[in-house]
């Protein structure tokens, strides 16, 4: 008999609070109902639990199951009412905003940043002894930013203590105030050289709420993020959330600590990559920010592009990518000043939706650029440890690999998951697939999916329940719901890459379907082809041309199993990077050809 029969999970976002109900049915966990309501952290309500109760009430109405009694969640599940577990994540009130400091920017500074991002925070700035700023400039910066907490690191264990103590002195001199609440001390986590702990205690002990954890970089060759990440989560609960209206009450309801939303998503992605032994990239493109999560070679990384998004930050996408880069994806002519005014209007009225096809195409062009830029930032950050000396043999002599290389290898990538309004709610799934492929440019064989209702936060916190008696079933529930209900499988992208002339054969692919049928297709450079096929296994053998790679090396044939989906099997011969002609007529012709190949937009006057 299962101990957990039903689970209620909520995610309190900055605008919407989403509730899901998971139930044990037919020998497995399934998502059964969901509800949502506006978040109530801000005036006039100023109590997050009101929004939670409203969202849960919607679940009650839809499911016909009584979950609330006198404004509280009924536990445990009696068979007819209540739920066994309640968990929640939160990014309301701007999420968790941190500042991190390290001695060397590219070493302890980066490790501290990785720990903070991995815990789900926004990193407002990275201070380092060698960041080129003078002490008083750093002090002014700390004062301006008013972070929720600070993570201080630096030095290897037993090494020199001077630099990290100097950083602590700068913090002390700035005497920073926390963002929320004038009456409590700013939490500071020290995760640096253990020999400097006393000096740090002396410098920061009185003016801040200091916690000391194990060094984030005990030796140069090792990164130890776990203790810092856990401490960030604890302090997020104790300090930051406790200051936000209604959270004390919400914390008393939950069966596991409330996690910052991106922290929960990250831990779920990490868990899936580990369980399936695959490389994963996940992206959540929101109105203000774009989060990218990746697991390559077993290493998890997260980045937040704080000012790349589809509404509040849409003008910043334009500013960073340039109008030309956005317009290259638009298959028609448009007045440039008219277009910038339109994009500006989307920024100041962020909740609008594209009514005309023209507006939709423009919005999706901007999304491609936002995703592309965020992924560039991610690739630059997700690297192997810098400053590490590695032993080399004679066989490595010709490889120019140095420490600090990006871990992101698109040929190695197995699964690409998208979420966020523009990807999850695109009118046609083909559009989501195209945006993901054009922006991330996967190579070789890559499965594509979208998280239709952005359930990953709730599943992430569920997978993290630590109570011994609930742990196993909770993580089983999270994984089962992730597999069955969370992802919408779009299909698989097969993209041969290598140097070849336009229009020439890149690969020949033989597809063996489960019903015994066989199909052979040829992909030429510049082609984009779609074979509609549901989420079923298809055996493929791919013979790339000389100099072309599909995963086994240049010119090497490969046998594999691929899966269709709501879009199907996409064969992308556009090589990497995808380049578009500078001549408008040719560019528009290519764009229209690719669009039509996958049935991306309704046909009409525009396309």
């Amino acid at each position: 008999m299962k101990k957990i029969k039903s689970i209620l999970a909520t995610d309190c976002g900055s605008t919407t609070t989403k509730a899901i109900l998971i139930e044990w049915k037919d020998d497995r966990y399934r998502l059964t109902f969901r509800g949502e309501a506006p978040t109530t952290v801000e005036a006039p309500f100023e109590d997050v639990t009101k929004g939670v109760l409203n969202a849960v009430m919607e679940v009650e109405e839809l499911s016909g199951r009584k979950i609330l009694k006198e404004g509280k969640i009924i536990t445990p599940d009696s068979g007819v009412e209540g739920v066994d577990i309640y968990v929640s994540t939160s990014s309301a009130g701007g999420g968790l905003q941190m500042m991190v400091a390290g001695v060397v920017k590219s070493m302890s500074g980066e490790s501290a940043e990785r720990a903070a991002l991995g815990a789900g925070s926004i990193v407002m700035d990275v201070l380092a002894s060698n960041d080129g700023r003078l002490a008083h400039e750093k002090i002014t910066r700390i004062r301006q930013l008013r972070p929720d907490m600070i993570l201080l690191s630096g030095g290897t264990d037993g090494g020199t203590t001077t630099h990290v103590t100097e950083l602590a002195e700068i913090l002390a001199a700035a005497n920073p105030r926390p963002r929320l609440g004038q009456n409590y001390k700013l939490p500071v986590i020290y995760a640096g050289n253990n020999k400097a702990q006393d000096a740090i205690q002396e410098t920061l002990g009185e003016i801040s709420d200091l916690d000391i954890v194990d060094n984030i970089r005990p030796i140069l060759e090792k990164e130890n993020l776990e203790p810092s990440r856990d401490k960030i989560h604890d302090l997020f609960m104790e300090h930051v959330m406790a200051q936000a209206p209604g959270y004390k009450k919400l914390m008393s309801w939950t069966d596991a600590p409330i996690m910052p939303t991106p922290g929960a998503v990250g831990s779920l992605i990490e868990m899936i990559a580990k369980k399936e032994n695959i490389s994963v990239v996940g992206v959540d493109i929101g109105g203000a920010t774009t989060d990218i999560f990746s697991v390559f070679q077993g290493k998890f990384n997260r980045t937040v592009s704080a000012n790349l998004g589809m509404s509040y930050s849409i003008c910043n996408v334009l500013a960073e990518s340039g109008l030309d880069n956005v317009l290259r994806w638009v298959p028609f002519d448009i007045d440039r000043s008219e277009l910038t005014n339109r994009i500006g209007n989307k920024m100041i009225r962020p909740t609008t939706v594209p009514q005309s096809l023209e507006e939709l195409v423009i919005e999706q062009a901007i999304a491609r650029e936002a995703l592309r830029l965020s992924f560039i930032q991610h690739k630059e950050f997700a690297t192997s440890l810098k400053g590490v000396q590695s032993e080399r043999t004679i066989s490595d002599a010709f490889e120019q690999s140095a420490s600090g290389q990006s871990l992101v290898n698109m040929m190695e990538l197995d699964l690409l998951v998208g979420s966020g309004g523009v990807l999850s709610h695109a009118p046609r799934r083909q559009q989501s697939a195209r945006m993901l492929i054009d922006a991330f440019m996967p190579e070789g064989i890559t499965q594509l999916a979208v998280d239709s209702i952005f359930m990953m936060p709730q599943l992430g916190v569920l997978a993290n329940i630590e109570k011994d008696d609930l742990k196993d079933e909770a993580s089983q529930a999270a994984l089962e719901v992730f597999d069955n209900d969370c992802l919408i499988r779009l299909g698989t992208c097969v993209a041969p890459v290598g140097s070849i002339k336009p229009g020439q054969l890149m690969a020949e692919i033989t597809l063996n379907f489960q019903d015994g049928k066989t199909e052979v297709i040829q992909i030429n450079e510049g082609d984009l082809k779609l074979i509609e096929h549901p989420y079923e296994e298809v055996k493929v053998s791919i013979k790339p041309s000389r100099g072309i790679d599909v995963g086994a090396g240049k010119g090497e044939a490969i046998e594999s199993s691929i899966y269709g989906g709501v879009v199907g099997l996409i064969f992308d011969g556009r090589n990497r990077p995808i380049t578009l002609s500078k001549t408008p007529v040719e560019r528009i012709e290519s764009l229209s050809k690719w669009s039509n190949a996958v049935d991306e937009y309704p046909k009409g006057d525009l396309l």
């Binding site: 002014t140 103590t165 509040y312 209007n345 507006e359």
Partner: protein, 380 residues
């Protein structure tokens, strides 16, 4: 009747306007509950901690950090003047001494044995907060600030730049569809808040800045002209700290869009009166809109509440379309069908049937618009 919740911008003829004026750090409140204040009355003040100078005494004297304490001529808490001796080595037989002097007037805040640094903090920086609008002190927030109220006409814009300004209102156009041209901006408008119709060009706004006009309230402005004003591309709509002589308050959006009649006629009523404006905008969770506040006489009857819950769109509501292809058009809601409709983009949305008003160039027409693309034009 079907409802749709689309919070619009406020255009209120008479309201009890409330404003918090809070210090960045705890300090002293200088007024009492019930006091009458003018926009310039200082209501609270405090001292921000002064800047910090860090002296690397060990490096400057070429000694080990732990030896610094033996050379110090000051102790923590001492007040020093610029040029005062902070530390000095003993030298050789009293000769060849090296010394460190204080680079500023200030107080010795800390001395570190580990790093050999001495921290000198400069004198505190005084900060004062004024009342911003004419009104009455409603509440004192101990050591932090005040809440004041004012009987006022209150208008929100959609987007603005530059912070708080005040001045007399001056209407420059006769019709909300007219643009403010460069010729209309003249030297006698210095310190005034000028109101136009549908648009102000970059050249006209720059002229207003040069002539120190206090504020410009207008229907539309070109997004790409902002770069020429600010010196950078405005990526996210968080403004208010720009150092500009003239606040800009855009009431409708980017491009040339006639100011709504309600806004224009309300401003027209108060031509020549004192007003306070603030261009500060923050379009994120915790939205801040730019505002125009026109304090009225003492009479507080028939006030509408500025903080009342926004009403939903109903049949008959006056609305504005806030996205292309009908951007900026005004209309009335003729019906709110409950079922989802497929738009040309194939997006499935809840819609409203809108009777778009006739404009100078466009005829009256009935059209389906996604409810998310409508904004209520709120009237009392």
């Amino acid at each position: 009747m079907a409802h749709s919740y689309t919070p619009g911008l406020k255009v209120l003829k008479k309201t009890l306007f409330k404003k918090e004026r809070i210090l960045p750090l705890k300090g002293k409140v200088l007024v009492k509950k019930g006091d009458k204040v003018t926009p310039d009355t200082i209501v609270a003040s405090t001292n921000l901690p002064g800047n910090v100078q860090m002296l690397k005494v060990n490096n400057l004297l070429n000694i080990e950090p732990q030896d610094v304490k033996n050379c110090l001529k000051v102790k923590e808490g001492d007040v020093v003047k610029k040029g005062d001796l902070v530390a000095e080595t003993a030298g050789i037989f009293g000769m060849f001494k090296s010394s460190v002097e204080s680079p500023v007037d200030g107080t010795i805040e800390s001395i570190s044995d580990t790093t050999g640094r001495v921290v000198v903090r400069e004198a505190p920086v005084p900060v004062e907060i004024d009342a911003y609008v004419q009104g009455q002190i409603e509440e004192i927030i101990s050591e932090e600030g005040i809440v004041l109220t004012s009987n006022a006409a209150f208008i929100q814009g959609i987007f603005g730049i530059a912070g708080e300004k005040r001045g007399k209102i001056k209407i420059l156009v006769s019709n909300p569809e007219d643009e403010i041209t460069e010729e209309m901006i003249s030297a006698d408008l210095k310190g005034k808040i000028v109101v136009g119709g549908s648009f102000i060009s970059l050249a006209a706004y720059k002229k207003a800045i040069n002539l120190k006009v206090a504020g410009v309230v207008v229907g539309g402005f070109n997004y790409f002209d902002l770069k020429a004003v600010l010196g950078y591309n405005l990526g996210v709509a968080i403004t208010g700290t720009e150092d500009l002589a003239t606040a800009l308050i855009v009431t409708e959006g980017y491009g040339s869009i006639p100011m709504s009649n309600a806004t224009f006629s309300l401003l027209q009523t108060y031509d020549g009166q004192e007003a306070s404006v603030n261009g500060a905008t923050q379009i994120r969770a915790g939205v801040i809109r730019p505002e125009i506040v026109i304090p009225l006489s003492e009479d507080s009857s028939n006030l509408s509440d500025v903080n009342k819950e926004p009403e939903g769109i109903k049949e008959g509501s006056l609305v504005r379309v806030i996205r292309a292809p009908y951007f900026g058009r005004l209309g009335t809601v003729s019906s709110l069908p409950s079922e989802l409709h497929k738009m040309e983009s194939e997006t499935m949305v809840r819609v409203a049937n809108i009777l778009l008003k006739k404009t100078k160039d466009l005829k009256e027409e009935e059209i389906l618009i996604p409810r998310a693309n409508l904004e209520m034009v709120e009237l009392e």
